[in-house]
Amino acid sequence: MDLGLDLCGLRLEHPILNGSGTFDAIAARRAFGDELDARLPFSLYVSKTITPEPRAGNPAPRLYETPAGMVNSIGLPNKGLAGFLDDDLPRLAALPVPLCVSVMAPSRDGFGVLVERVAGRVEVAALELNVSCPNVHSGLIVGERPAETLALLGSLRPLTDKPLIVKLTPNCADPAAVARAAEEGGADAVSLINTLRATALEPRTLAPWLGAGSGGLSGPAIRSLALDQVRRVAAEVSIPVVGMGGIESGADALAMLSVGASAVAVGTASFRDPLAAERVRSELAAALDLRGLSGLPVAGLVSTSS
Protein backbone atom coordinates (compact mmCIF):
# COMPACT_ATOMS: atom_id res chain seq x y z
CA MET A 1 0.00 0.00 0.00
CA ASP A 2 1.53 3.29 -1.10
CA LEU A 3 -0.15 6.12 0.78
CA GLY A 4 2.08 8.77 -0.76
CA LEU A 5 0.67 12.00 -2.10
CA ASP A 6 1.56 15.38 -3.43
CA LEU A 7 0.24 18.21 -1.28
CA CYS A 8 0.68 21.58 -2.99
CA GLY A 9 4.00 20.50 -4.39
CA LEU A 10 5.24 18.73 -1.26
CA ARG A 11 5.83 15.02 -1.62
CA LEU A 12 4.40 13.37 1.51
CA GLU A 13 4.76 9.73 2.54
CA HIS A 14 1.16 9.48 3.65
CA PRO A 15 -1.80 11.79 4.32
CA ILE A 16 -1.66 11.99 8.13
CA LEU A 17 -0.44 15.27 9.62
CA ASN A 18 -0.73 16.75 13.08
CA GLY A 19 -3.07 19.59 13.96
CA SER A 20 -1.15 22.73 14.87
CA GLY A 21 -0.71 23.04 18.60
CA THR A 22 -1.50 19.45 19.40
CA PHE A 23 1.92 17.83 19.16
CA ASP A 24 5.09 19.49 20.38
CA ALA A 25 7.89 17.47 18.85
CA ILE A 26 10.54 19.21 20.91
CA ALA A 27 8.85 18.40 24.20
CA ALA A 28 7.93 14.93 22.99
CA ARG A 29 11.60 14.28 22.27
CA ARG A 30 12.31 15.03 25.93
CA ALA A 31 9.72 12.41 26.93
CA PHE A 32 10.34 9.71 24.33
CA GLY A 33 13.93 10.29 23.21
CA ASP A 34 15.14 9.16 19.79
CA GLU A 35 12.09 6.98 19.26
CA LEU A 36 10.18 10.21 18.57
CA ASP A 37 12.20 10.85 15.43
CA ALA A 38 12.36 7.21 14.43
CA ARG A 39 8.60 6.77 14.54
CA LEU A 40 7.18 10.26 14.03
CA PRO A 41 3.70 9.41 12.82
CA PHE A 42 3.14 12.54 10.74
CA SER A 43 4.16 13.02 7.11
CA LEU A 44 4.33 16.80 7.48
CA TYR A 45 5.00 18.35 10.85
CA VAL A 46 2.91 21.43 11.61
CA SER A 47 4.33 23.68 14.33
CA LYS A 48 2.34 25.30 17.07
CA THR A 49 1.20 28.75 15.96
CA ILE A 50 3.86 31.40 16.44
CA THR A 51 3.28 35.14 16.77
CA PRO A 52 5.54 38.14 16.18
CA GLU A 53 6.17 38.71 19.89
CA PRO A 54 6.64 36.07 22.60
CA ARG A 55 3.46 35.07 24.42
CA ALA A 56 3.23 33.42 27.83
CA GLY A 57 -0.22 32.02 27.11
CA ASN A 58 -3.40 32.26 29.13
CA PRO A 59 -3.72 31.90 32.89
CA ALA A 60 -4.54 28.47 34.31
CA PRO A 61 -6.68 26.45 34.15
CA ARG A 62 -6.46 26.02 30.41
CA LEU A 63 -8.25 22.70 29.96
CA TYR A 64 -11.74 21.42 30.58
CA GLU A 65 -12.90 17.97 29.69
CA THR A 66 -16.31 17.60 28.06
CA PRO A 67 -18.28 14.57 26.87
CA ALA A 68 -16.10 13.01 24.15
CA GLY A 69 -13.96 16.10 23.87
CA MET A 70 -12.22 18.97 25.57
CA VAL A 71 -12.19 22.74 25.72
CA ASN A 72 -8.84 24.53 25.71
CA SER A 73 -7.80 28.10 26.26
CA ILE A 74 -4.07 27.71 25.84
CA GLY A 75 -3.59 31.19 24.38
CA LEU A 76 -0.80 30.50 21.89
CA PRO A 77 2.20 30.48 24.23
CA ASN A 78 5.30 30.74 22.04
CA LYS A 79 8.73 32.26 22.00
CA GLY A 80 7.84 34.81 19.35
CA LEU A 81 9.36 34.98 15.89
CA ALA A 82 12.95 35.56 16.95
CA GLY A 83 12.88 32.90 19.67
CA PHE A 84 11.27 30.45 17.30
CA LEU A 85 13.84 30.97 14.58
CA ASP A 86 16.74 30.74 16.99
CA ASP A 87 15.66 27.99 19.39
CA ASP A 88 12.90 25.90 17.90
CA LEU A 89 13.46 25.91 14.16
CA PRO A 90 16.80 24.08 14.23
CA ARG A 91 15.32 21.39 16.45
CA LEU A 92 12.21 21.01 14.29
CA ALA A 93 14.35 20.94 11.17
CA ALA A 94 15.95 17.78 12.55
CA LEU A 95 12.64 15.94 12.27
CA PRO A 96 12.54 13.34 9.50
CA VAL A 97 9.65 15.04 7.66
CA PRO A 98 9.04 18.42 6.01
CA LEU A 99 8.08 21.29 8.26
CA CYS A 100 5.07 23.57 8.07
CA VAL A 101 5.13 26.60 10.35
CA SER A 102 1.85 27.99 11.62
CA VAL A 103 1.79 31.76 12.00
CA MET A 104 -0.64 34.33 13.32
CA ALA A 105 -0.43 38.08 13.81
CA PRO A 106 -2.87 40.73 14.98
CA SER A 107 -2.31 42.82 11.84
CA ARG A 108 -1.65 42.38 8.15
CA ASP A 109 1.80 43.88 8.57
CA GLY A 110 2.56 41.55 11.42
CA PHE A 111 1.52 38.62 9.26
CA GLY A 112 3.76 39.96 6.51
CA VAL A 113 6.82 40.03 8.71
CA LEU A 114 6.13 36.49 9.91
CA VAL A 115 5.65 35.12 6.42
CA GLU A 116 8.71 36.84 5.03
CA ARG A 117 11.04 35.80 7.82
CA VAL A 118 9.73 32.25 8.19
CA ALA A 119 9.42 31.50 4.49
CA GLY A 120 12.94 32.81 4.05
CA ARG A 121 14.32 29.86 6.01
CA VAL A 122 15.28 26.86 3.94
CA GLU A 123 14.20 24.50 6.74
CA VAL A 124 10.58 25.55 6.19
CA ALA A 125 8.58 23.73 3.54
CA ALA A 126 5.21 25.42 3.98
CA LEU A 127 3.32 27.92 6.11
CA GLU A 128 -0.07 27.70 7.70
CA LEU A 129 -1.90 30.97 8.27
CA ASN A 130 -3.99 30.83 11.41
CA VAL A 131 -6.64 33.47 10.73
CA SER A 132 -8.78 32.98 13.82
CA CYS A 133 -7.33 35.97 15.67
CA PRO A 134 -9.24 39.26 15.86
CA ASN A 135 -7.69 41.85 13.60
CA VAL A 136 -6.60 44.85 15.64
CA HIS A 137 -7.50 47.28 12.88
CA SER A 138 -10.92 46.02 11.87
CA GLY A 139 -11.80 44.39 15.16
CA LEU A 140 -13.05 41.50 13.06
CA ILE A 141 -11.83 37.98 13.02
CA VAL A 142 -10.18 37.72 9.63
CA GLY A 143 -11.19 34.10 9.14
CA GLU A 144 -14.89 34.89 9.61
CA ARG A 145 -14.96 37.27 6.65
CA PRO A 146 -14.24 36.38 3.05
CA ALA A 147 -13.22 39.95 2.22
CA GLU A 148 -10.72 40.19 5.08
CA THR A 149 -9.28 36.83 4.15
CA LEU A 150 -8.91 37.85 0.53
CA ALA A 151 -7.20 41.08 1.52
CA LEU A 152 -4.82 39.24 3.83
CA LEU A 153 -3.83 36.81 1.10
CA GLY A 154 -3.41 39.74 -1.27
CA SER A 155 -0.66 41.12 0.92
CA LEU A 156 0.97 37.81 1.86
CA ARG A 157 0.93 35.89 -1.40
CA PRO A 158 3.56 38.08 -3.10
CA LEU A 159 5.98 37.45 -0.24
CA THR A 160 6.74 33.80 -0.90
CA ASP A 161 6.46 30.97 -3.37
CA LYS A 162 6.21 28.41 -0.63
CA PRO A 163 2.82 26.82 -0.05
CA LEU A 164 0.46 28.91 2.05
CA ILE A 165 -2.24 26.91 3.84
CA VAL A 166 -5.11 28.92 5.31
CA LYS A 167 -6.52 27.46 8.51
CA LEU A 168 -10.22 28.27 8.54
CA THR A 169 -12.34 28.94 11.58
CA PRO A 170 -15.52 26.89 12.01
CA ASN A 171 -17.21 29.68 13.94
CA CYS A 172 -18.95 31.23 10.96
CA ALA A 173 -22.04 30.68 8.89
CA ASP A 174 -20.25 29.77 5.68
CA PRO A 175 -16.67 28.48 5.86
CA ALA A 176 -16.84 27.66 2.16
CA ALA A 177 -17.14 31.35 1.31
CA VAL A 178 -14.00 32.06 3.30
CA ALA A 179 -12.27 29.12 1.61
CA ARG A 180 -13.19 30.48 -1.81
CA ALA A 181 -11.74 33.84 -0.83
CA ALA A 182 -8.55 32.14 0.29
CA GLU A 183 -8.32 30.31 -3.02
CA GLU A 184 -8.98 33.50 -4.94
CA GLY A 185 -6.25 35.20 -2.95
CA GLY A 186 -3.77 32.57 -4.01
CA ALA A 187 -3.72 30.16 -1.07
CA ASP A 188 -2.29 26.77 -1.98
CA ALA A 189 -4.55 24.86 0.41
CA VAL A 190 -7.01 25.33 3.23
CA SER A 191 -7.17 23.40 6.49
CA LEU A 192 -10.12 22.99 8.83
CA ILE A 193 -11.60 22.84 11.35
CA ASN A 194 -10.10 24.82 14.16
CA THR A 195 -11.80 24.61 17.56
CA LEU A 196 -15.35 25.78 18.22
CA ARG A 197 -15.99 28.52 20.76
CA ALA A 198 -17.06 26.98 24.05
CA THR A 199 -17.47 27.81 27.72
CA ALA A 200 -17.09 25.76 30.87
CA LEU A 201 -17.96 26.63 34.44
CA GLU A 202 -16.43 25.54 37.70
CA PRO A 203 -19.18 23.24 38.98
CA ARG A 204 -19.19 24.60 42.51
CA THR A 205 -18.66 28.32 42.14
CA LEU A 206 -20.20 28.57 38.65
CA ALA A 207 -17.45 31.00 37.74
CA PRO A 208 -15.81 30.43 34.36
CA TRP A 209 -13.53 27.43 34.69
CA LEU A 210 -10.96 28.51 32.15
CA GLY A 211 -8.51 31.20 33.14
CA ALA A 212 -9.29 33.01 29.89
CA GLY A 213 -13.07 32.81 30.40
CA SER A 214 -13.79 30.68 27.38
CA GLY A 215 -12.00 28.44 24.92
CA GLY A 216 -12.30 26.08 21.99
CA LEU A 217 -13.93 22.67 21.73
CA SER A 218 -12.15 19.77 20.01
CA GLY A 219 -12.25 16.00 19.88
CA PRO A 220 -14.70 13.32 18.70
CA ALA A 221 -17.63 15.43 19.91
CA ILE A 222 -17.15 17.71 16.89
CA ARG A 223 -16.26 15.06 14.29
CA SER A 224 -19.58 15.05 12.42
CA LEU A 225 -19.57 18.83 12.32
CA ALA A 226 -15.99 18.88 11.00
CA LEU A 227 -16.88 16.32 8.35
CA ASP A 228 -19.74 18.54 7.25
CA GLN A 229 -17.58 21.64 6.91
CA VAL A 230 -14.79 19.78 5.12
CA ARG A 231 -17.33 18.35 2.69
CA ARG A 232 -18.84 21.76 1.95
CA VAL A 233 -15.47 23.43 1.57
CA ALA A 234 -14.00 20.68 -0.61
CA ALA A 235 -17.02 20.93 -2.88
CA GLU A 236 -16.35 24.61 -3.51
CA VAL A 237 -12.60 24.94 -3.91
CA SER A 238 -10.16 23.22 -6.21
CA ILE A 239 -7.12 23.68 -3.98
CA PRO A 240 -6.35 20.82 -1.58
CA VAL A 241 -8.15 20.63 1.76
CA VAL A 242 -6.60 19.34 4.97
CA GLY A 243 -9.40 17.91 7.08
CA MET A 244 -9.37 17.66 10.85
CA GLY A 245 -11.66 17.59 13.87
CA GLY A 246 -12.11 14.57 16.10
CA ILE A 247 -10.15 12.14 13.93
CA GLU A 248 -9.37 9.05 16.00
CA SER A 249 -9.37 6.09 13.63
CA GLY A 250 -8.61 5.02 10.10
CA ALA A 251 -12.34 5.01 9.42
CA ASP A 252 -12.56 8.63 10.51
CA ALA A 253 -9.65 9.54 8.22
CA LEU A 254 -11.17 7.65 5.31
CA ALA A 255 -14.43 9.53 5.78
CA MET A 256 -12.57 12.86 5.63
CA LEU A 257 -10.69 11.80 2.49
CA SER A 258 -13.84 10.52 0.85
CA VAL A 259 -15.66 13.84 1.25
CA GLY A 260 -12.80 15.58 -0.48
CA ALA A 261 -9.93 16.14 1.93
CA SER A 262 -6.48 15.53 0.46
CA ALA A 263 -4.86 14.98 3.83
CA VAL A 264 -6.06 14.55 7.39
CA ALA A 265 -4.71 15.95 10.64
CA VAL A 266 -4.86 14.28 14.03
CA GLY A 267 -5.20 16.68 16.96
CA THR A 268 -6.75 15.91 20.31
CA ALA A 269 -6.45 12.15 19.75
CA SER A 270 -2.67 12.47 20.15
CA PHE A 271 -3.25 13.54 23.74
CA ARG A 272 -4.85 10.19 24.52
CA ASP A 273 -2.14 8.29 22.71
CA PRO A 274 0.96 10.03 21.37
CA LEU A 275 1.06 7.44 18.59
CA ALA A 276 -2.63 7.72 17.71
CA ALA A 277 -1.70 9.03 14.26
CA GLU A 278 0.32 5.89 13.51
CA ARG A 279 -2.73 3.77 14.24
CA VAL A 280 -4.90 6.07 12.13
CA ARG A 281 -2.50 5.62 9.23
CA SER A 282 -2.28 1.85 9.48
CA GLU A 283 -6.05 1.49 9.86
CA LEU A 284 -6.46 3.74 6.85
CA ALA A 285 -4.11 1.58 4.80
CA ALA A 286 -6.03 -1.53 5.84
CA ALA A 287 -9.35 0.09 4.94
CA LEU A 288 -8.10 1.06 1.48
CA ASP A 289 -6.74 -2.42 0.98
CA LEU A 290 -10.10 -3.91 1.92
CA ARG A 291 -11.67 -1.79 -0.80
CA GLY A 292 -9.18 -2.97 -3.36
CA LEU A 293 -7.50 0.43 -3.62
CA SER A 294 -3.75 0.68 -3.92
CA GLY A 295 -3.42 4.27 -2.81
CA LEU A 296 -4.67 7.82 -2.85
CA PRO A 297 -6.68 9.79 -3.75
CA VAL A 298 -9.95 8.25 -2.65
CA ALA A 299 -12.24 11.22 -3.25
CA GLY A 300 -14.85 10.36 -5.79
CA LEU A 301 -14.72 6.76 -4.59
CA VAL A 302 -18.42 7.04 -3.96
CA SER A 303 -20.98 9.69 -4.50
CA THR A 304 -21.09 11.91 -1.47
CA SER A 305 -23.24 14.66 -2.84
CA SER A 306 -26.19 15.62 -0.72
Partner: protein
Protein backbone atom coordinates in the same frame (compact mmCIF):
# COMPACT_ATOMS: atom_id res chain seq x y z
CA UNK B 1 20.27 16.42 37.85
CA UNK B 2 18.91 12.93 38.24
CA UNK B 3 18.00 11.84 34.73
CA UNK B 4 14.44 11.21 33.80
CA UNK B 5 13.78 7.74 32.47
CA UNK B 6 12.37 7.96 28.94
CA UNK B 7 9.02 6.46 28.02
CA UNK B 8 8.44 4.12 25.11
CA UNK B 9 6.75 6.22 22.41
CA UNK B 10 3.01 5.59 22.36
CA UNK B 11 0.44 4.07 24.61
CA UNK B 12 0.64 0.41 25.59
CA UNK B 13 -1.63 -2.04 27.36
CA UNK B 14 -0.76 -3.70 30.63
CA UNK B 15 -2.54 -6.32 32.62
CA UNK B 16 -3.96 -5.39 35.99
CA UNK B 17 -2.49 -7.87 38.45
CA UNK B 18 -4.03 -6.55 41.67
CA UNK B 19 -6.46 -3.95 42.92
CA UNK B 20 -6.92 -3.67 46.65
CA UNK B 21 -8.36 -1.20 49.11
CA UNK B 22 -5.95 0.64 51.33
CA UNK B 23 -7.90 2.69 53.82
CA UNK B 24 -9.96 5.15 51.82
CA UNK B 25 -7.68 4.72 48.80
CA UNK B 26 -6.96 1.90 46.38
CA UNK B 27 -3.74 0.39 45.16
CA UNK B 28 -3.92 -0.70 41.54
CA UNK B 29 -1.04 -2.81 40.27
CA UNK B 30 -0.27 -3.46 36.63
CA UNK B 31 2.40 -5.52 34.95
CA UNK B 32 4.33 -3.47 32.40
CA UNK B 33 6.15 -5.84 30.06
CA UNK B 34 7.53 -3.18 27.75
CA UNK B 35 8.52 -0.25 29.85
CA UNK B 36 11.57 0.64 31.92
CA UNK B 37 11.74 1.08 35.68
CA UNK B 38 10.60 4.61 36.45
CA UNK B 39 12.33 7.03 38.83
CA UNK B 40 10.60 8.34 41.98
CA UNK B 41 8.40 11.31 41.13
CA UNK B 42 7.69 10.22 37.56
CA UNK B 43 4.13 9.56 36.50
CA UNK B 44 2.05 7.71 33.93
CA UNK B 45 -1.02 8.68 31.93
CA UNK B 46 -3.65 6.00 32.57
CA UNK B 47 -6.93 5.00 30.96
CA UNK B 48 -9.17 1.95 30.92
CA UNK B 49 -11.56 0.33 28.48
CA UNK B 50 -14.39 1.87 30.47
CA UNK B 51 -13.30 5.38 29.64
CA UNK B 52 -16.23 7.28 28.24
CA UNK B 53 -19.17 6.06 30.26
CA UNK B 54 -22.77 7.23 30.27
CA UNK B 55 -21.85 10.91 30.80
CA UNK B 56 -19.23 10.86 28.04
CA UNK B 57 -16.35 11.44 30.50
CA UNK B 58 -13.52 10.69 31.08
CA UNK B 59 -12.28 11.33 27.57
CA UNK B 60 -8.65 12.17 28.34
CA UNK B 61 -6.22 9.92 30.20
CA UNK B 62 -5.39 10.75 33.83
CA UNK B 63 -1.99 11.35 35.44
CA UNK B 64 -0.80 9.16 38.32
CA UNK B 65 2.47 9.06 40.18
CA UNK B 66 4.03 5.69 40.50
CA UNK B 67 3.99 4.70 44.18
CA UNK B 68 5.88 1.45 44.10
CA UNK B 69 7.84 -0.52 41.50
CA UNK B 70 8.98 -4.11 41.52
CA UNK B 71 10.85 -6.07 38.89
CA UNK B 72 8.66 -9.03 38.11
CA UNK B 73 9.93 -11.89 35.96
CA UNK B 74 8.52 -10.64 32.68
CA UNK B 75 8.47 -6.95 33.34
CA UNK B 76 7.91 -4.31 35.95
CA UNK B 77 5.02 -4.23 38.38
CA UNK B 78 3.79 -0.66 38.78
CA UNK B 79 1.68 0.24 41.80
CA UNK B 80 -0.56 3.29 41.70
CA UNK B 81 -2.18 4.69 44.82
CA UNK B 82 -5.39 6.43 43.98
CA UNK B 83 -8.46 8.04 45.44
CA UNK B 84 -11.78 7.86 43.60
CA UNK B 85 -12.81 11.48 43.21
CA UNK B 86 -14.35 11.59 39.74
CA UNK B 87 -15.11 9.57 36.63
CA UNK B 88 -11.51 8.70 35.79
CA UNK B 89 -10.39 7.60 39.23
CA UNK B 90 -13.69 5.73 39.67
CA UNK B 91 -13.11 3.75 36.49
CA UNK B 92 -9.57 2.96 37.60
CA UNK B 93 -10.72 1.97 41.08
CA UNK B 94 -13.21 -0.46 39.51
CA UNK B 95 -10.57 -2.35 37.51
CA UNK B 96 -10.47 -6.08 38.07
CA UNK B 97 -7.52 -8.39 37.97
CA UNK B 98 -6.87 -9.50 34.40
CA UNK B 99 -8.40 -6.40 32.84
CA UNK B 100 -6.35 -4.04 30.72
CA UNK B 101 -4.84 -0.74 31.76
CA UNK B 102 -3.65 1.60 29.01
CA UNK B 103 -0.51 3.45 30.03
CA UNK B 104 1.92 6.02 28.66
CA UNK B 105 5.06 6.63 30.65
CA UNK B 106 7.14 6.98 32.70
CA UNK B 107 6.85 10.71 32.16
CA UNK B 108 8.20 13.87 33.67
CA UNK B 109 11.11 15.02 35.75
CA UNK B 110 11.76 12.86 38.81
CA UNK B 111 12.90 13.92 42.26
CA UNK B 112 16.52 14.96 42.40
CA UNK B 113 19.04 13.00 44.38
CA UNK B 114 19.69 14.56 47.76
CA UNK B 115 23.20 15.59 46.74
CA UNK B 116 21.85 17.48 43.77
CA UNK B 117 19.05 19.21 45.63
CA UNK B 118 21.19 20.15 48.62
CA UNK B 119 24.87 19.18 48.31
CA UNK B 120 25.54 19.63 52.01
CA UNK B 121 22.34 18.16 53.43
CA UNK B 122 22.70 15.38 55.96
CA UNK B 123 19.18 14.02 55.52
CA UNK B 124 15.85 14.31 53.80
CA UNK B 125 12.43 15.28 55.08
CA UNK B 126 9.54 13.81 53.06
CA UNK B 127 6.22 15.59 53.49
CA UNK B 128 3.11 14.02 52.00
CA UNK B 129 -0.52 15.04 52.15
CA UNK B 130 -3.45 12.82 51.30
CA UNK B 131 -3.16 10.97 48.03
CA UNK B 132 0.03 12.98 47.51
CA UNK B 133 1.93 10.49 49.62
CA UNK B 134 2.07 8.21 46.55
CA UNK B 135 5.36 9.30 44.95
CA UNK B 136 7.03 9.59 48.35
CA UNK B 137 6.72 5.86 48.94
CA UNK B 138 9.01 5.12 46.03
CA UNK B 139 11.28 8.01 46.89
CA UNK B 140 11.64 6.82 50.46
CA UNK B 141 12.68 3.35 49.37
CA UNK B 142 15.24 4.74 46.98
CA UNK B 143 16.68 7.16 49.52
CA UNK B 144 16.84 4.35 52.07
CA UNK B 145 18.67 2.15 49.57
CA UNK B 146 21.23 4.92 49.22
CA UNK B 147 21.54 5.17 52.98
CA UNK B 148 20.05 8.64 53.23
CA UNK B 149 18.73 9.52 56.68
CA UNK B 150 15.14 10.59 56.43
CA UNK B 151 12.07 11.70 58.25
CA UNK B 152 8.68 11.01 56.69
CA UNK B 153 5.70 13.17 57.61
CA UNK B 154 2.33 12.07 56.26
CA UNK B 155 -0.89 14.01 56.74
CA UNK B 156 -4.52 13.19 56.08
CA UNK B 157 -7.83 15.00 56.25
CA UNK B 158 -9.82 12.28 58.00
CA UNK B 159 -10.22 8.55 58.11
CA UNK B 160 -12.09 8.41 54.83
CA UNK B 161 -9.42 10.40 53.07
CA UNK B 162 -6.47 8.36 54.21
CA UNK B 163 -4.69 5.22 53.11
CA UNK B 164 -1.55 3.85 51.54
CA UNK B 165 0.34 3.73 54.81
CA UNK B 166 1.39 0.16 54.15
CA UNK B 167 3.58 1.49 51.35
CA UNK B 168 5.64 3.09 54.11
CA UNK B 169 5.46 0.19 56.56
CA UNK B 170 8.35 -1.98 57.69
CA UNK B 171 6.17 -5.04 58.14
CA UNK B 172 4.74 -6.54 54.98
CA UNK B 173 1.43 -5.08 53.97
CA UNK B 174 -1.81 -6.98 54.25
CA UNK B 175 -0.66 -8.91 57.29
CA UNK B 176 -3.35 -11.19 58.68
CA UNK B 177 -5.83 -9.93 61.19
CA UNK B 178 -6.03 -6.61 59.43
CA UNK B 179 -3.61 -5.11 61.92
CA UNK B 180 -2.35 -1.65 61.25
CA UNK B 181 0.97 -1.72 59.42
CA UNK B 182 3.96 -1.31 61.71
CA UNK B 183 5.65 1.97 60.91
CA UNK B 184 9.33 2.50 61.22
CA UNK B 185 10.28 5.20 63.65
CA UNK B 186 11.12 7.63 60.90
CA UNK B 187 7.45 7.86 59.77
CA UNK B 188 5.10 10.25 61.59
CA UNK B 189 1.50 10.99 60.73
CA UNK B 190 -0.95 13.81 61.25
CA UNK B 191 -4.67 14.06 60.58
CA UNK B 192 -7.18 16.85 60.82
CA UNK B 193 -9.65 14.61 62.63
CA UNK B 194 -7.01 13.07 64.89
CA UNK B 195 -7.67 9.51 63.78
CA UNK B 196 -3.96 8.98 63.31
CA UNK B 197 -0.95 10.75 64.81
CA UNK B 198 -0.85 14.45 65.49
CA UNK B 199 -4.23 16.18 65.28
CA UNK B 200 -3.73 18.98 62.82
CA UNK B 201 -1.77 19.63 59.66
CA UNK B 202 1.27 17.72 58.52
CA UNK B 203 2.91 21.09 58.06
CA UNK B 204 2.68 21.56 61.85
CA UNK B 205 5.08 18.62 62.12
CA UNK B 206 7.30 20.10 59.45
CA UNK B 207 7.39 23.48 61.18
CA UNK B 208 8.56 21.83 64.41
CA UNK B 209 11.24 19.87 62.59
CA UNK B 210 12.49 22.92 60.75
CA UNK B 211 12.68 24.89 63.97
CA UNK B 212 14.85 22.20 65.51
CA UNK B 213 18.41 21.24 64.82
CA UNK B 214 17.63 19.14 61.84
CA UNK B 215 16.64 22.07 59.64
CA UNK B 216 20.18 23.12 58.91
CA UNK B 217 21.22 19.85 57.35
CA UNK B 218 17.96 18.86 55.68
CA UNK B 219 16.24 19.13 52.35
CA UNK B 220 12.51 18.70 51.82
CA UNK B 221 10.64 16.62 49.26
CA UNK B 222 6.91 17.22 49.31
CA UNK B 223 3.77 16.14 47.50
CA UNK B 224 0.18 16.90 48.36
CA UNK B 225 -2.72 19.24 47.80
CA UNK B 226 -1.97 22.78 46.61
CA UNK B 227 -2.61 24.40 50.00
CA UNK B 228 -0.23 22.00 51.73
CA UNK B 229 2.46 22.51 49.11
CA UNK B 230 2.09 26.24 49.43
CA UNK B 231 2.56 25.98 53.18
CA UNK B 232 5.64 23.78 52.68
CA UNK B 233 6.99 26.29 50.19
CA UNK B 234 6.52 29.10 52.69
CA UNK B 235 8.18 27.23 55.56
CA UNK B 236 11.14 26.18 53.43
CA UNK B 237 11.59 29.62 51.96
CA UNK B 238 11.56 31.16 55.44
CA UNK B 239 14.00 28.58 56.75
CA UNK B 240 16.10 28.65 53.59
CA UNK B 241 15.69 24.91 53.28
CA UNK B 242 16.06 23.52 49.75
CA UNK B 243 12.84 21.86 48.67
CA UNK B 244 11.32 20.03 45.75
CA UNK B 245 7.58 19.87 45.26
CA UNK B 246 5.76 17.22 43.23
CA UNK B 247 2.80 19.19 41.94
CA UNK B 248 -0.45 18.65 40.10
CA UNK B 249 -2.08 20.55 37.26
CA UNK B 250 -4.80 19.60 34.81
CA UNK B 251 -3.13 17.51 32.11
CA UNK B 252 -4.46 16.41 28.76
CA UNK B 253 -1.36 14.78 27.28
CA UNK B 254 1.45 14.39 29.81
CA UNK B 255 4.21 14.79 27.19
CA UNK B 256 4.40 18.51 26.61
CA UNK B 257 2.05 18.79 23.66
CA UNK B 258 -1.13 20.46 24.90
CA UNK B 259 0.35 23.28 27.01
CA UNK B 260 -2.52 22.69 29.43
CA UNK B 261 -0.51 22.06 32.58
CA UNK B 262 0.78 25.58 32.99
CA UNK B 263 2.25 26.52 36.39
CA UNK B 264 3.21 30.16 36.93
CA UNK B 265 6.95 30.69 37.26
CA UNK B 266 8.42 33.11 39.71
CA UNK B 267 9.29 36.15 37.66
CA UNK B 268 6.70 35.53 34.96
CA UNK B 269 5.81 32.95 32.36
CA UNK B 270 4.79 29.38 32.90
CA UNK B 271 6.37 25.99 33.01
CA UNK B 272 4.71 22.89 31.60
CA UNK B 273 4.35 20.68 34.61
CA UNK B 274 4.34 17.44 32.61
CA UNK B 275 7.79 17.94 31.10
CA UNK B 276 9.37 20.58 33.33
CA UNK B 277 7.86 18.84 36.38
CA UNK B 278 5.91 17.35 38.03
CA UNK B 279 8.78 17.73 40.50
CA UNK B 280 9.89 21.36 40.60
CA UNK B 281 12.28 23.27 42.77
CA UNK B 282 10.23 25.22 45.31
CA UNK B 283 12.14 28.38 44.46
CA UNK B 284 11.20 28.25 40.76
CA UNK B 285 7.48 28.78 41.11
CA UNK B 286 5.35 31.74 41.95
CA UNK B 287 2.83 29.74 44.00
CA UNK B 288 1.81 26.15 44.53
CA UNK B 289 -1.85 27.16 44.44
CA UNK B 290 -2.29 26.08 40.83
CA UNK B 291 -5.74 26.86 39.51
CA UNK B 292 -7.68 23.84 38.34
CA UNK B 293 -5.67 21.23 40.16
CA UNK B 294 -7.75 18.83 42.14
CA UNK B 295 -8.86 18.11 45.66
Amino acid sequence: MTERVLAPFGRRRCEVVANRASGGYRIVSALDREGPEPRPGQFYMLATDRWGGPGGRPYLPRAFSVAEVERAGEGVRLDFLLEAVGPGTEALAALREGEALAITGPLGRPFSALGELAPTAAGAILVGGGIGIAPLALLRRELAARGVAQRVLLGFRDRRHAGGLELFACSPAGSPGGRAPRMSSEVRTASEDGHTGHQGYVTDLLAVLLEGDEAAGAAVYACGPPAMLEAVRGLCAAGEVPAELAMEAPMACGFGSCFGCAVPLRGGGYLRLCVDGPVVGADRIETALVAGSGH
